[in-house]
Amino acid sequence: MEKYSNHRKFLSQLIADKFFVYGNYSKKHSICDGIPEEQLVISGCGRYDILFNDIEKTEEKYILLLSTRMPKSKFSYFLSNSVILEWEKMLTSVFVALEELNEDVIIKRHPTAIEDIDSQVLAKKFLPDVKIYKNKNTYNLLSKAKLIISPNSSVITEAIILDKPVVIPRYINDDFGPPYAATNSVLTIDKPEDALSVIKKALYDDKVKAQLKIGREQFIKENLEYGGKATEKTLELIKDILKSD
């Protein structure tokens, strides 16, 4: 199957005059989506400055499992019943793996999205004592986690900035979003039967953990410009554009 990363798209046309993007990766993809290069400005992500600068590193206590819905409002592939059934197998395998480990687990559900596979039902079956949150501050939950397990979501980028190891159970064998796997900044579960071994590697294998750390640095370098100073940069750029107008 052709990779979904070749099929990224902007859902609708750009109406704004300038589009401030996180880094080169976003710029490259916006150009592929037909946005003229002169409308694109690399500014970094001001929202993440707080993660670079202010979030305290605290004792790493638990595995944080993020649950959300599949991106089926964007891509028809995820509307197929067979694809959702495969995802159910994948998610179940993650719960089975977590049941086998002697670790504390916290589940953070998406605040608004209705999940295709209900993580609460799986939790009840495999992890009856697990804490499940919906509206708790994600940054605080991330900062105290020893491992983050999440399908594709911007939370992965946030975890990478906080220098946390990440495991992605994948919908398909493709990065499908930012180049997390391509930069070796995360481990991926590509087959349900691999869930336990991948999670164990991310938790306990020092060599793998060191490689992931290097990968995370590479990801930030290549995809998030002006880390920690993006707000300053964005304001500078806005002022410059307004001056020149």
């Binding site: 401030f20 019943n81 605040p111």
Partner: protein, 373 residues
């Protein structure tokens, strides 16, 4: 003789599915899951839709919303205060079409692969899915038999329901409401926090006013605190205009607001139903007169009746809201000078209504990436 069951809803009597030579095709995951739980295994269609089909579905669901409003000779019917109204519903239309076009292609593939003589469906299903199914079966001369279902689920136009968080006694509760009820509740909730904000601001010394003003659309104080705080320290007045979640909606955002030079813009909520009805008639006329039929053809088959109905339904549901936003905002623009707009989204109805009004006045618009690509 092979009999195929197309199930978009759960049947009343599932024993009927167990007859010989039956092939069962659930058209959504909810039905698939229900049947599997009852040990009824549907046909596997996973190999029937290939990569090119998915690309076609995705592309078509984006192309129709972009193209339907571009008929130059009819453009005046879509025009409201110099804005092409088709641009304002582009995203909602695209999101609403994606599952329907997926369904069209899936049904076509099932028929191609099974060549049935009889199809069993819920004949009373008058949703867009039901209409699509009946249309395809009729075109293929397939005899239709009826099956009773427990309840027909009507597929809503996208964003017809809104989920949002409300803080009550220090806890956040998620509530899902129909769009029109959401706006009523949101206004009440916003008024409550406005009073708290005003009491709060009586104690705070207002910063001086600057010559230049930036309008910020739908920013959240909690997520963008550092950005907004630094922006607040520059020589710009900041005006916040929020559509979905109010700018101040809980204790945390109220606390943050003390540190910002924050001015809220409030749009009027008065809808002009007479003006809206007239515009709906204009748009209906536009749709009736579109000659370029290829826009509504999918794989050589004409779906213009169904696709035009979806567009018209979306227009009918949204037009008074759109006209209210544009009317009210343009009234504000007569007295409020704005030098730039900063937004986190330029694709949805509210943002586009504001942005396109500003563009007419050559006000620069800056979109900030808000989430991964």
């Amino acid at each position: 003789m092979v009999k195929i069951f197309f199930l978009d809803n759960i049947p009343k009597n599932i024993e009927i599915l167990e007859q010989k030579n039956s092939k069962i095709f659930p058209l959504n995951f909810k039905v698939e899951k229900y049947l599997r739980d009852k040990k009824i295994i549907p046909e596997d269609t996973s190999k029937w839709l290939n990569w090119d089909d998915f690309i076609f579905i995705d592309k078509t669901s984006m192309d129709i919303p972009k193209k339907w409003g571009l008929m130059k000779h009819l453009e005046k019917n879509l025009n409201f205060r110099g804005i092409n109204l088709s641009l304002l519903i582009e995203k909602e239309l695209s999101l609403s079409l994606l599952p329907l076009i997926h369904k069209i292609i899936l049904i076509e593939k099932i028929i191609e692969n099974t060549n049935p003589k009889i199809a069993v469906i819920d004949k009373n299903d008058n949703t867009y899915s039901g209409k699509i199914l009946k249309k395809i079966l009729k075109r293929n001369n397939i005899k239709i038999e009826h099956i009773d279902v427990k309840k027909t689920t009507k597929q809503d136009i996208y964003f017809e329901k809104v989920t949002f968080g409300l803080e009550f006694l220090g806890k956040t509760y998620d509530i899902t409401l129909k769009r029109k009820h959401f706006f009523i509740l949101k206004n009440i909730y916003e008024k409550y926090w406005d009073i708290k904000f005003k009491i709060n601001h009586l104690k705070i010394q207002q910063k001086k006013k600057y010559n230049k003003t930036i309008l910020l659309i739908d920013f959240q104080l909690i997520n963008y605190y550092s950005f907004l705080k630094d922006l607040s320290n520059t020589n710009y007045n900041l005006i916040f205009l929020n559509s979905r979640r109010p700018i101040i909606w809980n204790q945390e955002s109220l606390k943050i607001s003390k540190n910002l030079n924050l001015i809220k813009m409030q749009l009027e909520n008065e809808k002009d139903e007479k003006e809206s009805k007239k515009k709906i008639m204009d748009i209906k006329k536009y749709l009736d007169e579109i000659q370029e039929k290829s826009i509504f053809y999918l794989k050589q088959h004409n779906y213009s009746d169904i696709l035009k109905s979806i567009i018209l339904e979306l227009v009918e549901k949204r037009i008074s809201e759109i006209m209210m936003i544009i009317n009210s905002f343009e009234k504000k623009l007569k007295t409020q000078n704005i030098d730039a707009v900063v937004t986190l989204d330029d694709s949805q109805l509210f943002e586009r209504s504001i942005i396109l009004s500003c563009k007419k006045k050559n006000i620069p618009i800056f979109l900030i990436q808000n989430g991964d690509m």
